[in-house]
Amino acid sequence: MNESLDIYVSRCINCGFCDAVCPTLEAADFRGYFGARGRVNLAKELIKNDIGEEEVLDSFNSCLHCNACLYVCPAGISAGEISEKLKLRSSKKDPLAKFIAENIMKYKDPLNIGKGSTLWSKGLKFNEQSEYLFYTARMYQLMPYNSAVAKMREKLGEGLLKKFSPTFSKLGFKGSLLKIFLEREKVEEFNNILLNIYKVLAESGVELRYLGEEEPYSGAMLLEFGFEKEFTSYANWLVNFFKSKNIKKIVTIDPHTYTLLKYQIKDYVNFPFEVIFYLDLVNKKANFSGTVTIHQACHLERYGEKYRKYYDILSDVRIINPIHFNERTFCCGGPDEVLFPNLTNKISEKRFIELKSTEADYIITMCPICYINLKKDEKVIDISQFIAKF
């Protein structure tokens, strides 16, 4: 956005194209408040001070930032970007979001999972001298813990969870507290994906450096939840941290961290590192005689570039496209998992049905958030697992 928010918003002609592709509108049973056009219209009122921040908070918070609206907007504006800017500007914050933000600032980890982030790397060989930093940003590791939070929400109820959030923050929250709700198999499943990513890179001759327990989270959720000041401070810390470790090249393994470090962070801090998505370093071609369908991550399709290296890796495999693919790929609903789990469930169910209806042998994902939301049967496979297997 190169202009002031009010001018940007005023370019909207209210054609409704954004609503037609906005995943949250349908998931919210077509309540316009949860649709892209609704968000822009509410932004118009908020800018004029004709409505209060409190009333519109959920509308902006529920935006998935999938950028589907930007792709179809005749006037070239993004309801996602508007939501993000207004969240950043707003002084009202969701208590659960606040709790997570405080954890990130305090522990460099949204849920303070501690050693849980390094279990996958046990026994693996890393090279401290390698030019490539293998940066998981704890994303794959966090997914089973996010599910545990969702389970806790089910037990406690939405209201109670939000009520307890400030207490959790105050007492110093530890991810291990989620043990009762944590599914061992899920932890193993995600650790196994990390292992496969490591393996396909190793097989491609890439030696990696890994920071183990010291590895911090990227800070992405600070931006997603509208904590701009905190994110700026965190981003500065992150830069200094990487500098102190003499890092030059960062190999990211999930789309959210990749686009954050490659594009978004530059609005806040000078980020003098080369950012790579790990598939760029893979020199293997998958060899599979069946069919696959690909769930393309929004962050790889509609953020800064159209990242499609996976087509080279899968060039010998028959791909069946779902209804929504490439620039029109449909969000898995994941980004709403913390604050609006009901929306996430409906969106992921819809997308899973779309993918499943291709009748492909495998449904390939390439993002931990997409994977956990779409893993509704055995056909769903992370691209690293697929490459390692075939």
């Binding site: 005023s10 002609i13 209210n14 054609c15 409704g16 077509f30 056009r37 219209n41 509308s59 005749p74």
Partner: protein
């Protein structure tokens, strides 16, 4: 019991908080509506019937809303009204390729319908530029057109039957799954283009056709719009039917050239994009022969990739023009007239003179195959002076259409915007009684004037 209590008792979902109803006060026109008392989200026709029964009793205004894509203000909310959002009625109920129909609920979006039909090898032809967002019910209510109109006609040609809730809550059905019918007055047609003023359409039987996959897209450049108009007329005169025939003026031609990378030949002022169906084998040669004899400055036959890029550029022309806006508050108000093909050359000449006279920034494009011309007027909607000038231009633009035996509205409906132009058309045609007939029909079907009052005409 007031309306909101009634809806609660009836277990009908509604929204009434300010932040919930704000998203419904605008559509794609430049009008802004008033806050409604509630937005109702019915799941079926029975709920719509219950809502209307109560609104009829209580004299509450009702505005039906599909995708909210009207360019004339048809779907904006009114003060003290109830908005009925049709988006939850979004199921495809039945498909029959053999009987050539699809039965759908009114809230199905046009592109979604065609995605479904494409998988079965069929097509529902109406394709307004808003097809991504516009709904079956909305496009029937405005008799929408589109790029394919020259070959297939507009929406009215494709409606076999309708399910409608009347103002007092009664549910009726017109037509059905049959391709022909001669049984009394054609009530189906009565509701096409009625913009929600006579009843609320909740489902429709739509006629479908097998897709024509084999066609060639060509770009033809001309020095004079007149030559292009003559070419189109001769093509049709000789019994040929382009699948679509789109024209643009120089501003829009340069945009398409920039997007597609296809250069504009020297001296070109007008671009024609034609889709030639390849049915029996020699259509292409016949088309090309006529075009070559029409003084083109260049002809470019497109390969599959170019064809796709040019189609997207044409469909996105309005978007591209929006990005040419330079001033705060600037909008594009679209004139939408139609004339017979034979009158296109002269109508275009007169429009060019009119643009010069007004000195406004205007770009012309349109579905020239069926004589539909759009004038895109760049206007600061916050300036009374500019708005008056734009309105005057559109009035005279409408007059050009009328002088050439055309109409002031081809495919966008009347809404709020063109009420005066509609009267002008009836007066010009010495048939103002048409307005009286319309008002009489309205009074029979909606005696309390609760359905979208103030749209199409004032009672």
């Amino acid at each position: 019991m007031d309306l909101l209590q009634y809806l609660t008792v009836k277990n009908i979902d509604f929204l009434s908080k300010r932040e919930d109803v704000i998203p419904y006060i605008r559509d794609a026109s430049y009008f802004t509506g008033e806050l409604p008392i509630a937005v109702v989200l019915p799941k079926n026709e029975n709920e719509i019937s219950e809502i209307l029964t109560k609104c009829y009793e209580e004299n509450i205004k009702v505005v039906a809303r599909g995708g909210g894509t009207s360019l004339t203000g048809s779907s904006i909310s009114l003060k003290g009204s109830v908005v009925i959002s049709m988006l939850r009625l979004n199921r495809i109920l039945e498909f029959s390729g053999g009987d050539r129909y699809v039965h759908v609920q009114a809230g199905v979006r046009i592109d979604d319908l065609n995605s479904y039909l494409q998988s079965k090898g069929f097509l529902y032809p109406p394709d307004p530029a808003s097809s991504l967002a516009s709904t079956v019910g909305g496009t029937i209510s405005t008799n929408a057109g589109g790029l394919r109109g020259t070959y297939y006609g507009s929406t009215k040609e494709w409606i076999l039957g309708l399910g409608i809730v009347l103002a007092d809550g009664r549910i009726i059905r017109t037509g059905g799954k049959i391709l022909k019918r001669s049984a009394g007055y054609d009530l189906t047609s009565l509701f096409v283009g009625a913009e929600g003023t006579l009843g609320i359409i909740f489902d429709a039987y739509l006629k479908i056709v097998p897709r024509i996959e084999n066609f060639t897209r060509i770009m033809v450049f001309f020095r004079k719009a007149e030559d292009m108009g003559k070419a189109i007329y001769q093509i049709k005169e000789r019994g040929l039917n382009p699948l679509s025939a789109e024209f643009t003026d120089k501003i829009s031609m340069n945009i398409i050239s920039r997007i597609s990378g296809i250069p504009v030949p020297d001296g070109s002022e007008v671009l024609l994009i034609i889709d030639i169906p390849i049915l029996s084998g020699n259509e292409y040669e016949k088309f090309i022969q006529i075009i070559k004899n029409s003084n083109p400055t260049g002809i470019k036959s497109l390969n599959a990739e170019e064809s796709e890029v040019v189609y997207k550029a044409r469909k996105g022309l309005y978007s591209s023009l929006l990005n040419e806006r330079e001033r705060e508050g600037e909008y594009i108000i679209i004139g939408d007239v139609v004339v017979p093909s034979s009158e296109v050359p002269e109508a275009l000449n007169e429009t060019r003179d009119l643009i010069e006279k007004f000195g406004l920034k205007i770009s012309l494009f349109g579905h020239i195959g069926d004589g539909n011309i759009h004038a895109n007027v760049f206007t600061n909607i916050n300036s009374n002076e500019e708005m008056k000038k734009a309105e005057k231009f559109l009035e005279e633009f409408g007059d050009i259409a009328l002088r050439h035996n055309g109409s002031v509205s081809a495919e966008h409906g009347i809404g709020f915007e063109k009420k005066e132009l509609l009267i002008r058309e009836f007066i010009y045609k010495k048939s103002i009684v048409n307005m009286e007939i319309m008002k009489s029909i309205k009074k029979i079907l909606d005696p309390k004037n609760i359905l979208n009052p103030g749209k199409v005409f004032d009672l």
